[in-house]
């Protein structure tokens, strides 16, 4: 009996010492980059880059967008490294590569740090260091300030943390001009005020998930009714902020009127979320707002992109 115990200990010991051989595929590493978030980052950065005054060589423009995209992906990988414990207990995130065991936390950390270093250094050396420094700050803000600190500490996590998601068009503007001005700050503010209603709408119908993971999202900490009020207030501010570039004379009336129409629809959905508080209609209203908020932001930036393209093409046609 004693001999069997000894053998068992030796076997376990040798198992613990044997190196883990990775079976992670390329797809798992791509998943660490959060491709859906990255696509929105690329799109908003592209708009920031094209809105900037002056000529940017296409090679430098592609380099800038590529570096911003890789930097955003690096932030995602660092987030998945640190949040693996939270992701494991949430239905929405349990199948991510780290909690599912396909990629170890150490591999995710190394991947995220490597991409951070390469994206910032490449943007700094090949484009300019204002953009490189802003990209480094964006990654730091998302990975350290938001992921490691705010997310587990305060119900205002996504309000303050939203700054990281709002910075890509600012980085792109800096890449094109080497400086900053009012227009990229207005783009920043639009995404900043868009973030709370977007994520709180999701949190309303996923609050059980967040509560189980111990994440202090607003519906978990303050309750769904207080969240509904906050969603409404932030949506009112969002509509005003989104119209401000037109009212201040930076963008034209096509953008201004479109922003008011889209904002009016977003506000109507926020009012529905505020009024529908029980059962399936409440969940449906929150889902509608979450879904439309994505369309809203995409449409606003697409209109800006369209105006830039039209302004560039019209002189060629005439």
């Amino acid at each position: 009996m004693e001999a069997r115990v000894v053998v068992s200990v030796v076997e376990n010991h040798s198992l613990a010492l044997s190196p883990r051989i990775s079976e992670a595929g390329v797809g798992d590493y791509l998943a660490l980059l959060k491709p859906r978030v990255m696509s929105l980052v690329v799109f908003t950065a592209l708009v920031g880059l094209l809105l900037a005054p002056g000529y940017v060589h296409p090679v430098l423009a592609i380099t800038s967008i590529l570096c911003i995209a890789v930097g955003a992906g690096a932030s995602g990988a660092l987030n998945m490294w640190y949040d693996a414990d939270i992701d494991a207990v949430m239905a929405r995130t349990a199948k991510r590569p780290v909690p599912a065991g396909r990629v170890t936390p150490q591999e995710a950390l190394a991947f995220g740090l490597t991409l951070s270093l390469f994206s910032v250094a490449t943007l700094g050396v090949l484009v300019n260091w204002v953009a490189g420094a802003l990209l480094a700050f964006t990654i730091f803000f998302y990975a350290v300030i938001y992921t490691m600190w705010l997310k587990r500490w305060t119900a205002q996590n996504i309000v303050i943390g939203g700054a990281a998601g709002a910075l890509p068009p600012v980085v792109a503007w800096a890449a094109a001009t080497g400086s900053l001005s009012m227009e990229p700050i207005l783009l920043f503010l639009i995404i900043f005020f868009w973030t709370p209603p977007h994520f709180w709408a999701l949190a309303l119908y996923r609050s059980d998930d967040y509560a189980r993971a111990g994440v202090p999202m607003l519906p978990v900490v303050a309750g769904p009714d207080a969240t509904r009020l906050q969603i409404l207030l932030y949506t009112v501010m969002l509509v005003a902020v989104a119209a401000s570039p037109w009212l201040l004379g930076y963008f034209d009336a096509v953008y201004g009127i479109s922003s008011l129409v889209l904002g009016g629809w977003m506000l109507w959905l926020a009012v529905k979320v505020y009024r529908q508080r029980e059962g399936a209609p409440a969940v449906r209203a929150a889902r509608q707002l979450f879904g439309f908020s994505l369309i809203y932001l995409f449409a606003l930036f697409a209109i800006l992109l369209g105006e830039v393209v039209v302004a560039a093409v019209l002189p060629l046609l005439s």
Partner: protein, 53 residues
């Protein structure tokens, strides 16, 4: 089994396949980086080396 015949760590077919895929992806990424630096050097011309220290 004596010391010389010990097989060491033997990778499964899946592990070999995934390792090869990861190696190819790293090679492609490095290739893109080299091309990027080459293209930007062409775009910026000789001034690319003329930077303040």
């Amino acid at each position: 089994m004596d010391e010389e015949q010990r097989p060491g760590i033997v990778l499964t077919e899946t592990q070999k396949k995934r390792r090869r895929e990861r190696s190819i992806a790293i090679a492609l990424a490095l290739g893109v980086l080299v091309l990027l630096f080459f293209a930007v050097t062409l775009v910026k011309g000789p001034a690319v080396l003329n930077r303040p220290l």
